[in-house]
């Protein structure tokens, strides 16, 4: 796997996608290639191990924890999604494998399978709700939440990151969307279309 990684050129599926003219109510950005791992591990073993590759696994289900560059999301009772910078892929894998040696687990590199994008702005939740059935209100889905769900016909993992200031300095919601590579153009187009429609209705 390590050999493959150095040979394969990481080309983003969305590199060639035309970005929409940015409506003021929302900003949609594609993210560069990143390192991603799915970790399956018994909940008891996760508690015993505490943290893996610098990331704490002691999280409620559907919450994530992050440091400056990496994040860990608990997607189910025994499933975590770990994300870090592309350059950290080998060290993250080696750290996790070392920490889990002797423990029954599965650690799968899915760096190439997923594509990430970010959506922020005061209308971000409305635009996501064009295709996502989740209650995205602050009580049900505050910053720190993350879950697998649907956007239109595609499965995505949706993260609510910390709010960010918009151009006027007002704190607005900030989401990260992860989807499978083959769904990326559909998901990106879905969000761009919903944003354009929202802008058209508002203006």
């Amino acid at each position: 796997m390590l050999e493959n990684r150095s040979i394969m050129r990481r080309e983003g599926i969305l590199d060639q996608v035309a970005m929409p003219a940015e409506p003021s109510s929302v900003a949609l950005r594609t993210l560069p290639p990143e390192a991603r791992f799915v970790l399956r591990l018994g909940a008891g073993d996760a508690t015993r191990n505490g943290s893996i590759a610098g990331l704490s696994l002691a999280l409620p289900i559907n919450r994530f924890g992050a440091d400056a560059s990496r994040l860990a999301t608990r997607l189910g009772p025994d499933e975590w999604l770990l994300i870090g910078p592309d350059a950290d892929a080998e060290t993250m894998h080696a750290d996790a494998a070392r920490a889990l040696a002797g423990t029954h687990h599965a650690l799968v590199d899915i760096s190439h399978r997923n594509v990430g994008m970010e959506l922020s702005g005061r209308a971000a939740a409305v635009i996501l709700n064009a295709g996502c059935p989740l209650d995205l209100g602050d009580r049900q889905f505050p910053p720190g939440s993350a879950t697998r769900t649907l956007l239109g016909k595609a499965e995505v993992v949706l993260f609510r990151l910390a709010d960010v200031p918009d151009r006027l300095g007002v704190a607005v919601p900030h989401y990260r969307i992860e989807c499978w590579r083959s769904f990326a153009r559909y998901v990106h187009g879905y969000l761009a279309g919903a944003a354009a429609e929202y802008a058209a209705v508002r203006n």
């Binding site: 289900i61 559907n62 997607l75 189910g76 009772p77 499933e79 059935p133 989740l134 879950t147 697998r148 769900t149 649907l150 499965e155």
Partner: protein, 98 residues
Amino acid sequence: MLLIECPHCGPRAEIEFRCGGEAHIARPADPSALDDNAWAEFLFYRSSPKGVHAERWNHAHGCQRWFNALRDTMSDRILATYPAGAARPNITTIEAAR
């Protein structure tokens, strides 16, 4: 939109779930000891009640875990959800769930 209470994720939209048929069907401990009729009974025959039905559900586009639900087949109302492996809650009527 029908909301289903996932034991792990809480109330979520029905579109995230898949139904896996009747719950609490125990696989025979020694299948080779069964005659064809008994084996067919286990494989193919399911109850189809008008009223409360125990079903397996999978939160396919969420935590992806299986759990069980009691659903009223007349009203499509989900009366209770509970973890796979847990005993069936003693709910037999809609009134009892209220």
